[in-house]
Symmetry: C2
Amino acid sequence: MEKKVYKDLSREELRQLHAQLSKEYADAKEKGLKLDMSRGKPSVIQLDMGMDIFDVLNAYSDMRNIDKVDVRNYGVLDGIVEAKHMMADIMGVSADHVIVCGNASLTIMYDTVSRSMTHGVMGSTPWCKLDRVKFLCPVPGYDRHFAITEHFGIEMINVPMTPQGPDMDMVEKLVAEDESIKGIWCVPKYSNPQGYSYSDETVRRFAALKPAAKDFRIFWDNAYSVHHLYEDRQDEILEILTECEKAGNPDMVYEFASTSKISFSGAGVAAIAASRDNLDFIKKSMTIQTIGYDKINQLRHVRYFKNFDGIKAHMRRHANIMRPKFEAVQQVLERELDGLQIGSWTNPNGGYFISFDAMEGCAKAIVAKCKEAGVTLTGAGATFPYGKDPMDSNIRIAPSFPTPEEMAQATDLFVLCVKLVSVEKLLGM
Amino acid sequence: MEKKVYKDLSREELRQLHAQLSKEYADAKEKGLKLDMSRGKPSVIQLDMGMDIFDVLNAYSDMRNIDKVDVRNYGVLDGIVEAKHMMADIMGVSADHVIVCGNASLTIMYDTVSRSMTHGVMGSTPWCKLDRVKFLCPVPGYDRHFAITEHFGIEMINVPMTPQGPDMDMVEKLVAEDESIKGIWCVPKYSNPQGYSYSDETVRRFAALKPAAKDFRIFWDNAYSVHHLYEDRQDEILEILTECEKAGNPDMVYEFASTSKISFSGAGVAAIAASRDNLDFIKKSMTIQTIGYDKINQLRHVRYFKNFDGIKAHMRRHANIMRPKFEAVQQVLERELDGLQIGSWTNPNGGYFISFDAMEGCAKAIVAKCKEAGVTLTGAGATFPYGKDPMDSNIRIAPSFPTPEEMAQATDLFVLCVKLVSVEKLLGM
C-alpha cells in the first residue's frame, strides 16, 4: 500500500488497512518481544565505560583533598572544593555558587521543596502554612518533577512547551498575577521528553520575570548539560544565574545537576547552584540535616575525570553509544510514519528522550498495545501533571537502555501500534 | 597539698589553693596546647584501618549483587538485599524490617521528622498542621538530635537520664497524658554522652508505653551497637522492635544505625528499621524523594565486611585504638579528682564519650578556661535542648580523635580547669 495521509483514506481503505495491520500485529505478538524503553536508564555498555573510576582510589591512596581535608572523616558540609569546581563546570557557573550534595539531584529538588514547605524561602512564610501553593509545569515534562509537587499537595498548572521553551507569554502573565505560584519546573537543555533547548530569549525572559510572590523560584534542572548526541549539532543555552543577576533577580533560581548520567546512575555526585543568599539559607537546614555528604565519592569523581575536558571526552564516548540508538528510532519513525499525518516526533541534539505525539486520544491505546506485544513504554500521561495528558497524545521514548538493534525492533512494533490505533480511531472503533 | 573534699576547706585554704592553681593554669597556657576533644570524630589511625575497602571494587569487578542487580544503575529503592542483612545484623533485627539509605543516619532522622511535619505518620495529621508538637529529650543527650527538633519548631521537654536509661516513670506519665508529645530521642546503647545502656526493664517499659498520640514514635538511635571498648565488659540491650511487637505496639519505634563509626564517617551506609507498616508509609515519600541510594557503596561495604563476624572483628581492632584514649582520660580523672567532690564522671563500656558533671554552675567556665588554654571541648550546654543545661554542670568529653598521649595532656588541663573553677565557685569569685 502506497504512503497516504490516513485521514484522506476512504472507510473501505481504512478497513483493509486495519485488517492488514491487525494481522501484522498478531504476528508481532508471536515474536514474544521483551523490551523496555520506558525509563532513561543507562545501558550496561555505557556503565562499563566508567569502570576505571574504581581504580582511582585504593588502599594506599592519599585521602586528603587539595585543601588537605581528610575526606574519610566528618566535615565540609557543602562539598570539597574540587568537586564544587567540577559541578560548577558542568553547569557553567562559578564554584562559589555551588553546594555539592549526595548521589541524586532529584533528592536535592525534593529536599528544596520540602524545606520550602516547612521553613519557607529566605524568610518567607512556610508554604505549609499557606492555603494554596501552585507550580507551573511546562508540558510535556518530567514525571518525577510532577511527582514531587503532587506529593506536597502543590497545585500544578500546565504550560505548553514550544521548541524554544515554555510559552513565556503565559508564564509571565501567570507569575505576575498570582502570588500563590511559587515555582516552575524547567529542564532547559535537551528537555525531558522533547529534547528542546531554551532559546536565549526564553532564558532572558525567565531571568526578567516579575513574580507576585517574593518566594517564587525557578527550578532549573540542568540534567543534560553535557549530554550531546552529535559533534556537529550541539545546543547551548544561556547561563541562568548570570542572567538572573543581570536582570536584578539574583535569588530567583535554583539550578540542579548531577553526574548520574555521566558516571553512574544513583552513585554519582549531585549539586545545587544558586545565589549566595539562597545558599546561606539552604545551609541553615542542611547543617541540621547532615554533617556532610559522601566526600570520598566526590574525590573519586574528581580524580577520575580530572577536569572539564575529561568530562567532555567521557561524554563524547557516551554520545557514540547513545547516537546509534536514537538514529535507529528516527530511521524507523521516518520510514514508516512520514507523510501519514498520524504522529509527529522530535529529533533532539542531545538528552535521553524522543517525544512522540500521536493523534488525539490515541496515546494510551498505543502504549497498551505495545505492552501487550512485549514493549514497555513510559505510561501514557506520565509526561503531564497528575498523569493526565488532556489530549491523550504524548508518548515518551527512552532509547538509552536497549541496544540499537533492540531499539529498531521496539520501534518497528511501536509504529505498527501507532498505525493500528490511528486506523481504529479514524474508523471510530 | 593532700587530697581533701574541696567544700570542707577553709577560705584560707581555698585562697592558697586558688593561688597555686592559677599559677599552674598560667604555666599550662604557656605550653600553647592545641587539642580538640569536642566531637566524636574518628582518628586518622582508625580511618586507616579500613583502607582495604578501596581494593574491594576495581575496574574488572562484577557489579551485580547476589540478586543480579547491576548496582551501578537506577533502581532498588530500599537497598540491595545483602546490605539490608548487614545493617539488620548491626541492629539485631530481621532484614525485612530494614531500609538501607545514604551515608548518614542523621539525615534519615531529619527526613523522618521532616516527613512527619509535612505528611504525618501513617495517616495522622501532618505535624505542621498542629498547634503544638513536643518531643521528650533524655538529658544529657545528643546535640544533633535536639537540633533537628528545634529546627522544626518542636517543643522539647527534658527527661533525666539514669544509668538504666531515661526516667521511665516520667516518660510513661507524660506520653500518656499529653497527645502533643509525638516522639522521644533515645540512644539506647552506650548513650551519648554518658555511655549508659538501657536496662531490660527500661526497654520493656518503652515497648509497653501507652501514648495518648497514635503518631507517637520512639526515635531509637542505635548508633553504638557494636562499639564496645572491652572484650570482657560489654553491654547488650534488648531488641526494641521485637519488644514493641510483643507488647502490641509494633509501629511505635523507628530504629536508626549507620557504619559512620565502623567504616568511614560521612561515607558509610545508614539504615532505618521499623515495622512493615511504617516502612510502607516511609517508602511512599522515599519513592518520590529518590530513585535509590548509592548501591555501589552498599556493595563495597558488604564485600569488605563479608558478614557480621567481619564487622565484629573490625570493631575489636577499633576498640584497641579507642580503649587507650578512654583509659588515659579515666586515669587522669581518677588520679586528680577522686575524693575532691567537685565532679563525677562516667566510665562506659563502649561508645564515643565520657560524660562529666561539674559542680552546679561551673561547666561553662570550665569549658571557657580549657578553650583559653588551647583545649576545645563540646560547648557547655550542648548536651541539653536549646543548649541550656539548667544546672550548668554537664560536659561531654570526646576522646576519639586525639592520641592517648594528647588525651592525657588534654585531660590534665581539663582537671586543672575543673579545680580552678570549682575553687573560684566556692570562694564566690
